[in-house]
């Protein structure tokens, strides 16, 4: 599933050389030493890549930033847009500084420092006055996970 997710954003094999393990529905890149500990059912091991839930895949912060370096499918947003996006909100055209992609495509959402904040789906033309990019996942998820607990 992690490989399919990567293919949405780049044809490059950015996972090449990684030894990927699936643990409790989560994908990790592990070292040979860490692999020996997999039978002991760890809760977290090595480099976390993301988790699957049903048909959905939720990428890790590491994977998002790795994709942001390699993929062309990305947009850049301003400070106000950054704040709204990491609060789980969709994006309006006025927040988008660098535009890329067509309706129906997935795009990574970056801030002015080229840090990946998440990804979304383009649902309207970039000159539309309503929501242009629907938030599918953002790094504010860290906080929302904590609150759930």
């Amino acid at each position: 599933m992690v490989k399919e997710f990567v293919k949405f954003f780049t044809k490059k094999n950015i996972l090449e050389g990684m030894d990927i393990a699936l643990v409790r529905g989560e994908y990790y890149s592990v070292t040979s030493e860490q692999r020996k500990l997999l039978p002991k059912s760890p809760f977290y091991i090595g480099q976390y890549l993301g988790r699957r839930r049903g048909k959905d895949f939720f990428p890790s912060l590491f994977l998002l930033n790795l994709l942001a370096k390699e993929s062309e499918k990305k947009i850049s947003i301003n400070d106000k847009g950054e704040w709204l996006f990491i609060c789980g909100r969709d994006l309006f055209a006025k927040s988008i500084v660098v535009k890329h992609g067509a309706i129906g495509e997935l795009v990574l959402v970056l801030n002015k420092y080229e840090e990946c904040l998440g990804y979304g789906s383009i649902i309207a033309k970039f000159n539309a006055e309503h929501t242009v990019v629907k938030n599918l996942f953002d790094i504010g998820d860290f906080l929302r996970r904590e609150r759930k607990n």
Partner: protein, 295 residues
């Protein structure tokens, strides 16, 4: 054997006292992901004023901030960890090296686990244990956020650490404890000697368990955020008597020597090698750190 007066009398008998103290927020720069300069620059641009914590390597007091530092992009990107100043010290005393195998016996919420990995430059291996299911989620989230790759986290009670079959170079035992009044405004209403004695029982079981999985001449850092001597100096006196360990001196520019006379009871002189943080002297939360060498 409870209430503010009871504990106040105890602390005074030990040379301490209760003072109202508003702790400054503090952060630790995660040098695995950024540098001090870059982070300070970015936070300054957002109106955040930081001041170096003089007794740790990567810590800063937050002197001013218009917003919560736990909800901005720089935090979510893992550039820093919000960690109380005294709580940043045990890992510095542990002094983790990139080649080592280290056990973090009670890891939630993951501040010290991520700090250990940071010192190890994400090399070597950290085994982190946490037995409480609702707290292990926080550890995992912090490991991911801080970009930790050398750590394996298990949902396990450190008293069963031997089941891992592993022997460790170093161990951090930041033991579950009764806490202290600085970080919990209702502390005096909640705590009793009975509860403290229950903590002591668990702490001794944990000490015994981690000694069993530490290599000979290995290092164990024992810490609590408790001011109660039963959980600190008296536990160390017990460990010196019951376990194959000796205490080593901790050189720190902050904190008092461990108490060697507790309510009239003389303790081994080496207990003075430990460090005790009275909040009214250190402006930190209450804290205790001991450095144990196995033999």
């Amino acid at each position: 054997m409870e209430g503010m007066k009871f504990f106040s009398d105890r602390y005074e008998a030990l040379g301490g006292k209760i003072v109202p103290l508003a702790l400054k927020d503090s952060i630790r720069v995660n040098t695995l992901k950024t540098s001090h300069e870059k982070l300070i620059h970015r936070l300054n641009k957002n109106g955040v004023i930081l001041n170096e914590i003089p007794f740790v390597q990567n810590g800063y007091f937050v002197e001013r901030s218009k917003f919560s530092l736990g909800a901005i992009n720089e935090f979510l990107q893992g550039y820093y960890y919000i960690q109380e100043a005294a709580a940043q010290i045990p890992v510095e005393v542990l002094d983790p090296k990139p080649s080592e195998i280290i056990l973090d016996a009670c890891s939630a919420p993951g501040g010290k686990t991520t700090q250990i990995a940071q010192h190890m430059k994400n090399k070597g291996m950290v085994i982190a244990l946490e037995k409480k299911p609702h707290r292990i989620i926080s550890v995992k989230s912090n490991l991911e956020r801080c970009g930790i790759t050398n750590t394996v986290l298990f949902p396990a009670d450190a008293r069963e650490a031997h089941l891992s079959g592993m022997i460790f170079d170093k161990v951090l035992l930041d033991a579950p404890c009764s806490g202290n009044y600085v970080t919990d405004p209702s502390w005096f209403q909640k705590r009793t000697m009975e509860g403290i004695n229950n903590s002591v029982q668990m702490q001794r079981e944990l000490l015994k368990a981690v000694v069993a999985v530490t290599k000979k001449n290995g290092l164990i850092i024992y810490s609590t955020c408790s001011l109660e001597p039963e959980e600190n100096e008296l536990n160390m006196a017990w460990a010196l008597k019951e376990l194959p360990v000796k205490l080593e001196k901790i050189d720190l520019p902050i904190g008092d020597s461990g108490l060697t006379n507790v309510f009239g009871k003389e303790l081994p002189k080496e207990i003075s090698y430990c460090r005790r943080f009275w909040p009214h002297k250190t402006n930190t939360q209450g804290f205790f750190i001991a450095k144990l060498r196995t033999w």
